[in-house]
Symmetry: C2
Subunit: 200 residues, 2 copies
């Protein structure tokens, strides 16, 4: 999902954001310090402080950078087959054979969402982030409706529903040991889309 | 949801759990200390340490106590009208006019779920907790199927789906400022239940 975003940093700020992202993935949020980011860069932490006031300012800058990347990618991609787009997304999201990187990514997202409980800057970020992902789902739905291949459903309401299930799946995956529900929920979402969105 | 659980503590342990619950609701998890729980009890923190090794042992005992209370309540209640039961649950869960107590409860749940990322004891608790709530949903669905008022759906899969949406709603409510999606998702869940569960 985030492969390649930070592959080719253009300047010091992007290098710092790339190092922050690697540290978050490897150590999580709780153990993240400005010192560790400096170590990852093989630089003194004062370089990091020169650009970002504190750990949270840096983490939010990193999240915003990732979101802008996704926004550009999602916005550019034409939706050729909206049903394929939705199916791919569900397959990817409910995969049971996920690797450690994917799991680490999900748990970090949850840790950062938990910061949003008390920190308005994180809340503002995740409010925007939910809107971006929901809009990309709604765009695929609208494409299908306009092309006459989807039913006349409410694309915003369907997109918000999918978004809420996907976020619920993040929280359940990260906070429990069970995963038998993944296939069951995936199957029920297929049925929901068949009755509400797809034409038979 | 938790009203009355801790109203009449039977012994010191229950008094400590009741104080922990009040502290969690009022101050959240991050600011919770054994000292604050002692203060809430008007006792020295050494009394608290006498019964519980540390803050997390105490918080998990408090969560287990709440879960057992719900389990007893959910298990005892006969489901007279399974459709009413599901509707009430959705109305309650997607209410937009929630009070501060309810909001505080949800954000505390999220904070505690985030602990589960790194702490296997919290994970074990939330794995069990998801199972208890899912089972209560599945029991309502089974009652409806057996009584012939619901379609022959897969009660476990439908229950897991509802459970995942409800948990997604907790995370979105606690980590974003938007709430327009609540009514939209509620409406879509109604449509899903109409097509998959209810008989027309």
């Amino acid at each position: 999902m985030t492969d390649g975003v930070f592959e080719d940093p253009a300047n010091t700020r992007e290098e710092i954001l790339a190092a922050t992202y690697r540290c978050l993935r490897n150590h999580g949020y709780a153990d993240l310090t400005m010192q560790k980011i400096g170590d990852e860069l093989e630089q003194s932490p004062s370089l990091v402080y020169h650009h970002y006031e504190n750990k949270d300012a840096l983490v939010i800058a990193c999240l915003e950078y990732l979101l802008e990347h996704f926004e550009g990618k999602l916005g550019r991609g034409r939706v050729d087959d909206p049903q394929d787009r939705l199916e791919e997304m569900l397959d990817w999201w409910f995969a049971t054979d996920v690797d450690n990187d994917w799991h680490a990514f999900l748990t970090t997202v949850l840790e950062l969402r938990a910061q949003a409980v008390h920190d308005p800057d994180y809340r503002a970020h995740f409010t925007r982030s939910d809107r971006v992902f929901k809009e990309s789902l709604a765009a695929a739905l609208r494409t299908g409706i306009d092309a006459g291949v989807f039913q006349e459903c409410d694309p915003d309401a369907v997109a918000e529903t999918l978004q809420t299930v996907l976020i619920g799946a993040i929280l359940r995956r990260s906070s429990t040991d069970a995963d038998v529900w993944l296939e069951e929920v995936h199957g029920e979402l297929e049925r929901y889309l068949e009755s509400r969105v797809y034409k038979n």
